[in-house]
Symmetry: D3
Subunit: 231 residues, 6 copies
């Protein structure tokens, strides 16, 4: 039996035209290595710059935020579909459109690739809920920064990357809005609370570094490791 | 053309065995009056005590929080289904299982009744997102308290019910966890942020008082009115 | 390869608030024992008192019988969802909404839990049709009586529990409306005729007795055993 | 607002190769006349000889009765699809696969055409449940006999066609298996009990006679009229 | 009753980053003008450069053509979703995933926006089949050229734009692979044959010119008009 | 791991009433032999005479070609359903309604049986796209002729059956409309182009000869073998 694990890949990691092919290839190779090592991952892919560009058009034309969310979700699903095509027979062939479909797909034994699920919820939250549903203890979050900092390193020269922290500390950073892991969205609070309630371990890795996701899962080496509270 | 409006009915209002029939009948009559007055409501029903009882069993058997959420969602959908049966031909005949289905159902011109949507999201959040999607400016939230208080009136004798407040003030209450409108759940923060981003008006009413939902929609009389920031 | 078997659990067995958790836990443990013994069960759960309570409200508000049936089906699906949550990774993650979904779900190799299917058909009939579809030869029917009686033991002191009977005898009892196995519904006739046409074996067991379902499947010990006609 | 009505067309009426086109054309014209007269029909079409031929193959190859039922349902759906094609823009474009879809389709205001729904249930039962769901008071049943007889006219020369009977009398005929309206199937008992519980009026007409369905709906002239019990 | 019409918008018209917002806004305004003039359009949007970029990645990673098609379809659906968001309440809220869904959506009376449907079929073919299904006589094809030429104007200085041609002439151009309307794909042959078998009128317009789609529908002015054969 | 293979069975092979049962039984036995030999087939069944008869009625009543296509697809799905019933537990229990469903179904490890997919596409094209999607290198096409001829043998006495040809030669035959393999439909061009782009091997066999499909797959003996171009 393969071990369940969830991998969140930030959309920004595959947004730039020049790295799209290179990065998708690299991530897919890493995913297959992780499968070979005895894991069955659910991969959740963000929408990145593609999402921002399309949502921007909808928003400027004055449309409701929920409709904009639906556009962003569709962009993340296009990214997910690309991963599915590149993973070939190792991937479940469809992008799940609900959590029920996601769990059914996971039951096939294949790699499941999801984008966003619905308005009012980030792909980070999708990854956290997916971890609960498939019984994964580890959630790897690949972004384009090295890990979690005490403050925004671009603005605060005293900002320090944390190697290890508790979920409670993570939640506090998120709540005061000073959580610098590549996304500043509201709904990371949802993700953080799901992580808290189910005592998941979260490994933040720098997705720009080849092999970083694999290292986090197999060797438990990562940028910042978030662990459940002691006791 | 009917005006879109969203009505959230707290599950606790229909939980007690002795009032189930009486309250469902009363709410359905109110809903039909609201339809007659030129509105097309989306009604979102919570799971209440039924949800708590079933979720309690799943949780004690040690199951994941997301699986528990799915049980709670199913309970709210049973409540929604009961409203649909009682509204007869005025209701869209199915409980929507996704936001896309909800908007499609609203397009039928009938009253749509929804329960929860997915793990990690309260029925309050569903109501707020539904308001965005159907273009409703008003969201009526019927609970079993009279409105929003500055503190929990049961614990703090100086607690005062607020007749009117801004969304920003609502958000602050929710964020410091001192929001007493019958539910203390995490995800009301999601609901509040959706209300904020789309500048919705929210009317909190005491659902135990006959006619309170109708008054909020038609006469704009309610327990607490939450309005977008000035300017 | 696991052997297919169908287990019908009467909703009344999990209706009382005080036994809900205890009985669901007990049934789930029994189901896992049955899985370990080499069977792959489809479990069909009734709606019980929950169903009756909700259907009662819809009916008093004057709604059509088919709409009432839909309410009762939703109640049985909530019960099914609770079993799924409690069975965790051993269960197929969704409640099937059609027979096609049920058979697809069975193909996953997991325990499938279903409620009712559609208006005009009892969960007994669902269990019988499910047995045909998955090729099960045995259908275990757990109710809150000890077996099939010649008459209603509460009214007729000469009523005798039958240890063994033919399907033909079962059908005759059902047809004259004197079949006392916990349910007096019309559509048990449908169930009985399905049992007849496919020559299924039906074991009626007292679901209040721990281990009774397991005994029926593994040891072929039960309250009343209904066997196909000789010859 | 159009009045809801249900029309059951026996598959045998369109089975013979030489009358297929002629009868489908005729029925579609009648249906459009009925629409023009202010009705919105749900049409339920049986599988007829096509169904029997295909089911016969499956049964001889030793397959389960439920799988055979699924083949028969697919045959009735092909017949339904043909009606949809021939009704063009007046028909809802899909054959409903569940009662929920049927009611949603009816909400479109178009003519809905259905075949069978699921194993263990005849198209007569589908028609009766559909009547409950859409609130139709009248169910027209077009077969290839003139009406309901006291016995099989081919075997009993004293058999008399009944012009009018109560549902109770219908139920008695069905229960003693002496109901000669073109189908001898078990599940007509289900249909009859649904008719009874909802006090529907059923008009049996001879579908071979042009205009007979229209007459039954508009002029209330039919072969046998089954009415709810008095008082 | 609004008149049905199909509008195909080439993905290249909205591909360039700098014109995305401007062109989507312009097309949506035109679509609403067309609605006001009494038409109910089905809009089919291509995938354009977005599709090419994503399909390119999948293809270089050595994946099957059908999987690449699925990626391209998802890209066109993202474009369709953007139109839906920008059309707001005038659009059917979902991108249809099959022709049955497309026709159901059209039945809602709203503007339907579709992308591609399935592997092995271009969005031109989708537009042609959609025209058949909704009974549209006119199919407007907006590309980034002025109309149909006798040869590729970039390569052949004697190439002449045709103002009017028969479907037969169109088919001949497509068959000899010398059809210069912005797309050289195989499946335009499918589209052309569908146009032929249903005798549709096709108006090719230069989508870069504001108002060109509207002119084609309302004033019948276009780059090249393809008409059914005489007689 | 079983090897993927696609088998197209022309509907005409099971159309005649007298051979329906015999041929379906024979094909199912061959399919199970092929499964035993280590293959996992996707079987695509045409509509044959049943399809033609029903489409003929729809067309004479003046309905659109796309609606006629939908009728023909439904007929092929009835044939597919019959195969599913006869294959019993070896078959995936549903007829896929989209390519995504087809690939999901193939992931179950069972024999998948499909009919047509959508308007404007033949079952030959479905078979070719299915081969791409499941990664099959061989597509067996069983018709009621012995193989591919240089001309129609009924009209041209010099017509010669080709034992082996390249895809390019196949495409040329199809393009000039002189491809005699039992179907003269437009969309075989689509099928041929899909075969070309993915360099599939196609084996045409005479489905009237028992064992011909099995021979083609296991022994590579067939009427005409179409191979990718050299080099």
């Amino acid at each position: 039996m393969s071990k369940p694990v969830v991998i969140k890949i930030g959309g920004h990691l595959i947004s730039a035209e020049e790295v799209l092919k290179e990065n998708v290839r690299r991530f897919c190779e890493e995913i297959l290595d992780i499968v070979s090592a005895g894991y069955q991952p659910v991969v959740v892919v963000g929408g990145g710059a593609l999402s921002r560009r399309y949502v921007g058009v909808a928003r400027e034309l004055g449309r409701s935020e929920a409709l904009c969310d639906l556009v962003g979700i569709e962009a993340s699903r296009l990214n997910a579909r690309l991963f599915i095509a590149c993973l070939g027979k190792y991937a479940y062939p469809s992008v799940p459109r609900s959590y029920e479909e996601l769990v059914q797909a996971h039951g096939s034994g294949k790699v499941v690739v999801s984008g966003g699920m619905q308005p009012g919820q980030s792909t980070n939250a999708v990854a956290a809920v997916a971890a609960e549903l498939i019984g994964a203890e580890l959630l790897v979050n690949a972004t384009n920064v090295e890990g979690v900092y005490t403050a925004d390193p671009k603005e605060d020269p005293t900002a320090v990357k944390l190697d290890r922290m508790t979920i409670r500390e993570l939640l506090e950073l998120v709540e005061k809005g000073s959580f610098y892991a590549g996304s500043y969205e509201l709904f990371d609070l949802v993700a953080a609370r799901v992580v808290e309630r189910s005592r998941l371990t979260v490994a933040f890795v720098d997705g720009r570094v080849p092999g970083s996701i694999k290292s986090a899962i197999i060797d438990r080496i990562c940028g910042t490791l978030v662990v459940p509270e002691e006791g």
